[in-house]
């Protein structure tokens, strides 16, 4: 196996004494695409800022290509770039924004051509946009210019923090295509934080679930927040918006969040064992998971999304489709607390 492009160990990061990130160990392989899934405030952006060498971790080490790195490290600063969630352009023309990083590198040769190519990658013709000032762009165009400024550098690592969160569908599609070209054309490693699960399942080699600053699971799990109720002694539940009861083992406390890994889906309500818990839901979407080639269904139960891989038989028979009412199965021993 190749030397990991990133290796993190015993990392902790705090703001004003509040720990926002605690990662025991994490490795990222070169030229891979890694997705980060988690709710707002879970630590995705903090992790990307640390990986982008924007901030120094409060504790722990980040190794890049086997070497210890920190903000302004000479061995890494020209190889890693981060596209923040909100587009931020400097008070310059589009051309000067896109060429800024190239000039920092003293890379004056062929700047015009590189800028034009990068703008083309994000669907902005340079003859129309290169001379525009920063304030004459829409939000989607500004995000695409910011993306072009990163692509022009041909970085080894491209960190994308919810790159499509604040743009229209057309801009989002262009940004998605451009980020994939970075991997295809020069073998960039992509680490992408996004709420667009479907896109992440389609493109990622690995998906990491992040919650309360901790990484766990593969992204298939569903996080369910308390409060939990005990309607009868020994039986703990959460009543969902459609009045179904989601049964769980006794929680450590009534506010703890549970992680449920759904075992399977079926078209009938039959329980397969005493431990089997069944809930009724509706398929909201199907997507193809890139690294396993498995079709993954997102099923809405109450108002909670659950993700589960279809069996080869279900995939072959194509009897499960968006809009279909279906049953999810999980067992109590698959419930974890975080």
């Amino acid at each position: 196996m190749d030397l990991p492009i990133y290796e993190i160990s015993s990392l902790k990061h705090s703001y004003a004494g509040q720990t926002v990130l605690a990662i025991e160990h994490l490795k990222v392989q070169p030229a891979s695409i890694v997705g980060l899934i988690g709710p707002n405030g879970s630590g995705k952006s903090s992790l990307l800022r640390l990986l982008g060498l924007i901030e120094r971790p409060t504790q722990g080490k980040i190794l890049f290509n086997g070497r210890l790195v920190e903000p302004f490290s000479e061995e890494a600063r020209f190889l890693i770039t981060l596209l923040p969630q909100e587009p931020f352009l400097m008070k310059r023309s589009v051309f000067n924004n896109v060429s800024y990083g190239l000039k920092l590198r003293g890379n004056g040769k062929g700047v015009v051509q590189k800028v034009n190519e990068a703008l083309k990658l994000v669907g902005l013709p340079s003859q129309d946009f290169a001379r525009r000032p920063w304030y004459a762009l829409s939000g989607g165009e500004a995000q695409r210019v910011a993306m072009a400024a990163r692509l022009a550098l041909k970085p080894k690592v491209l960190l994308l923090d919810e790159p499509t969160a604040s743009v229209d569908a057309a801009s989002a599609q262009l940004i998605k295509e451009a980020s994939l070209r970075a991997r295809q054309q020069w073998g960039a490693t992509l680490i992408v934080a996004s709420h667009d699960w479907q896109w992440l399942y389609e493109i990622c080699d690995d998906i990491l679930h992040i919650f309360k600053g901790k990484i766990f699971g593969t992204g298939r799990e569903t996080i369910i927040f308390g409060p939990w109720r005990e309607p009868e002694p020994g039986k703990w539940v959460k009543v969902l918006s459609d009045k179904q009861q989601l049964v769980i083992p006794a929680p450590p406390n009534t506010e703890t969040a549970a992680v449920i890994d759904v075992l399977s889906v079926s078209e009938d309500e039959l329980r397969t064992s005493d431990d089997d818990i069944v809930l009724r839901g509706t398929v909201s979407r199907l997507s193809l998971e890139k690294n396993t080639d498995q079709v993954v269904a997102t099923i809405i139960v109450g108002n909670l999304p659950f993700t589960v891989g279809l069996t080869p038989k279900q995939k072959r028979e194509r009897t499960i489709f968006p809009g279909k009412n279906i049953f999810i199965h999980y067992s109590l021993d698959r419930v974890k607390w975080i």
């Binding site: 923040p84 931020f88 400097m90 800024y100």
Partner: protein
């Protein structure tokens, strides 16, 4: 003015020269200090900011008095022979302009979007490039500070009078000349010199507007 009175032009030249020295010095020292004050968080930042803001209102005669006391023959810097010279006035005017440059630079830097630092660092900037790029992004606020300081320096009388002594052909500036001519009852010349000050201010503002568009 139009007859090319050499004495008047000497005062104009002295004003341009001394204010250029003082504003150059205050920008050279004040912008980095203002950047640090606005950019970094450190203990004692708020009291320091209050001191700088207070010094922005320093009376010119008080600065003139202090500089005079230091530069006079018996003063600690008397050996340099700077009293009644243009460099002496420039020292006083630099003290006058410095808190304005520091204070307004700090305000401009504090007003910068926090996302700017992430944007610059994510492109691979080192510390020096981060500093210079941040300064460039704050250029409009810095220019406003520079104009405010230049306006104060150009129009002050107290320092020029006390430290310069209003010596004809030597340390007489536009403002001290106006004061003198008014005392002599030559209001016309005083008004004309005042218009010259306005014209210089206009030229500076036109240049700044040009820079702002870039």
């Amino acid at each position: 003015m139009t007859s090319g009175n050499a004495e008047t032009y000497s005062a104009i030249w002295a004003t341009v020269k001394v204010s250029s020295y003082s504003i150059a010095c205050s920008l050279f020292i004040g912008i980095p200090l203002g950047f640090c004050l606005g950019y970094f968080d450190f203990s004692g930042k708020k009291p320091l900011r209050t001191v700088v803001d207070t010094l922005m209102a320093l009376p010119t005669v008080f600065i003139g008095l202090l500089v005079y006391a230091f530069l006079t023959q018996r003063g600690p810097l008397g050996g340099f022979g700077l009293l009644f010279t243009l460099p002496g006035i420039a020292i006083g005017q630099t003290i006058l302009a410095l808190p304005i440059v520091i204070g307004l630079s700090a305000t401009a830097v504090e007003g910068m979007d926090q996302k700017l630092r992430i944007a610059i660092m994510s492109m691979g900037a080192n510390r020096r490039q981060l500093f210079l790029s941040s300064l460039w992004e704050a250029r409009h606020g810095l220019l406003a500070g520079a104009i405010a300081a230049y306006g104060r320096v150009m129009t002050e009388v107290g320092i020029s009078m006390m430290v310069g002594g209003n010596i004809k052909w030597h340390t007489r500036t536009i403002t001290t000349a106006i004061a003198l001519e008014t005392n002599k009852g030559q209001f016309g010349l005083g008004v004309a010199l005042g218009l010259v000050l306005l014209a210089i201010a206009f030229c500076v503002n036109v240049s700044v507007s040009f820079l702002r568009r870039r």
